[in-house]
Symmetry: C2
Subunit: 306 residues, 2 copies
């Protein structure tokens, strides 16, 4: 089995993981999670989103969180910006609080795009052009998330051609990196490989990442299938935080702990200290009043107690 020797994980727990929490999570807890993740060795963290608090009330403290982080050299801090207003809000603070990277997004499903943002795929991405331009003018990197890249709650299976389309459009507006996202966690290894291949028609192997939800328990298989293609960057979420508003009862992003356990077991370097990572996940889970949604974390915490 040919695998990359090194993998970079982007912990999206503070943003993708927490955004659907109904009870407000205090800014200091979010900051506490970011600090624990960077102390555990994560080198990129998706911190928050600059989106209207009417849409996502949980992220209303975005500027406070960004300003409260003790920045660690070598760590990149990214934020989701759904539009120019979001970007402007993200850079309204002093430069030291700016994100290193913004994330823009587009669905690979036409139905999803129409139902959720009321426009076509092509229009949705065209709208990001000024955001990308404004970010790059300020020296901020731009990552694009290709959502519903293998399946859509409205139209079912999504053909790889749609992923190829979104990747092409994102490339055209200057997005520097794309993440292939199985938003509702329905993907299986072969489909995920086809979606990644489609993205790789427009982006290099160092510019494509995988983003898998574990709704149907498939995320680790999908990660392994990606690794075998040479893909070495993944979004994961501390303690398996998160869910999906479009898939009732959906579990969240794949747990960072489960992915790190697999990678270290295969001798793949992540730069992450698994024990500290378990602590970070236990911290946020305790704050949320629940157990970590990670099997590796559960097993290791049980072992510690024994």
């Amino acid at each position: 089995m040919k695998l990359p020797s090194k993998v970079k994980l982007v912990d999206v727990g503070p943003r993708d993981g927490l955004q659907n929490e109904k009870q407000p999570v205090p800014a200091e807890v979010k900051i506490g999670l970011v600090h624990r993740l960077q102390d555990a060795g994560l080198t990129e963290i998706e911190v928050t989103s600059f989106v209207s608090p009417k849409w996502v009330p949980q992220m209303a403290d975005n500027a406070q969180v960004m300003a409260g982080i003790r920045r660690k050299p070598g760590v990149r801090y990214s934020v989701l910006t759904p539009n120019l207003k979001g970007l402007e809000a993200a850079v309204a603070a002093p430069r030291e609080f700016w994100p290193d990277e913004i994330v823009v997004f587009g669905a690979a499903s036409e139905a999803f795009s129409q139902k959720n943002i009321n426009c076509s795929i092509a229009e949705s991405i065209e709208r990001f052009a000024p955001v990308v331009e404004a970010a790059k003018a300020r020296g901020i990197q731009v990552r694009g998330a290709i959502s519903t890249a293998v399946g859509c709650p409205y139209e079912g299976e999504v053909p790889p051609e749609r992923v190829e389309l979104v990747a092409r459009l994102m490339k055209q507006i200057g997005v520097q990196h794309v993440g292939v996202a199985d938003t509702i966690g329905v993907g299986t290894p072969v489909k995920v490989q086809r979606a990644l291949e489609a993205a790789l028609r427009h982006y290099g192997i160092d510019e494509v990442s995988g983003h898998f939800h574990d709704t149907y328990g498939q995320a680790l298989g999908n990660t392994l299938a990606s690794l075998e293609m040479g893909v070495w960057q993944f979004d994961t979420s501390s303690a398996g935080l998160g869910g999906c508003p479009y898939a009732k009862g959906a579990t969240g992003n794949v747990a960072t702990e489960d992915v790190v356990y697999m990678l270290h077991g295969m001798g793949v370097d992540t730069g992450i200290d698994l024990d500290k990572l378990i602590d970070a996940g236990a911290y946020i889970s305790e704050q949320l009043g629940r157990k970590p949604n990670s099997r590796a974390s559960t097993a290791i915490l049980n072992k510690r107690m024994a």
Copy 2:
């Protein structure tokens, strides 16, 4: 990705899954599970074990369960027999209630063998020789389970050489098929492949199966890694039943539902009807008063309710 076109799953839920349940599960419930599994398309079911009720009180109803099953043509029924007494008990009933296959076992870890059965690996397998002989004399097939094949609770990592040794000894006493079992669920894809390779030095690709527990969430990745080697037979457990007495808080065998979801998603034929399988897992889970320990099942049951 090269994969087998067809996969056979052996549902071990009624035996491996239920054996550690503290509350007695009525025989008619166990029989009800077996019936639902065969109706869902499973072609082999590990039904019970013929072991002393002092050791495993949950399996004390073994003969009753075997006699209560409505046998379905094309389905094989297997039982665990730890010794000659167990085999004799399994064949004490009229021939129509005999198992089609017995399962014997040996640990790949010397420490595990010593601590649990108080003898060496070699001795433990030698003791099965008369059991194998007696079974084959009656036309009953013999499968061997190589337990702790990648990791052991006492000695940690288990080298592939130990798996090779157990496979060789099993071959010598006439065992016809071996299952490589990650009893405590600590394995990751590369280690699992090495363990399988070791078994394949003595058995053909059609005579080796994988048996993975999902303690650290690795079972589907391990299954995928096995499939890529051409291994096409796996033990799984309806609703992810089971645990491991040697790994506190351990989740059980990998859920049949999660494996079937992955296989069907990749176009691999299993002969199993996923919806009926979900029903079988929901049935036994309800009888046990808990939710299925399967992400695919959870997602599909939530979807049905929505």
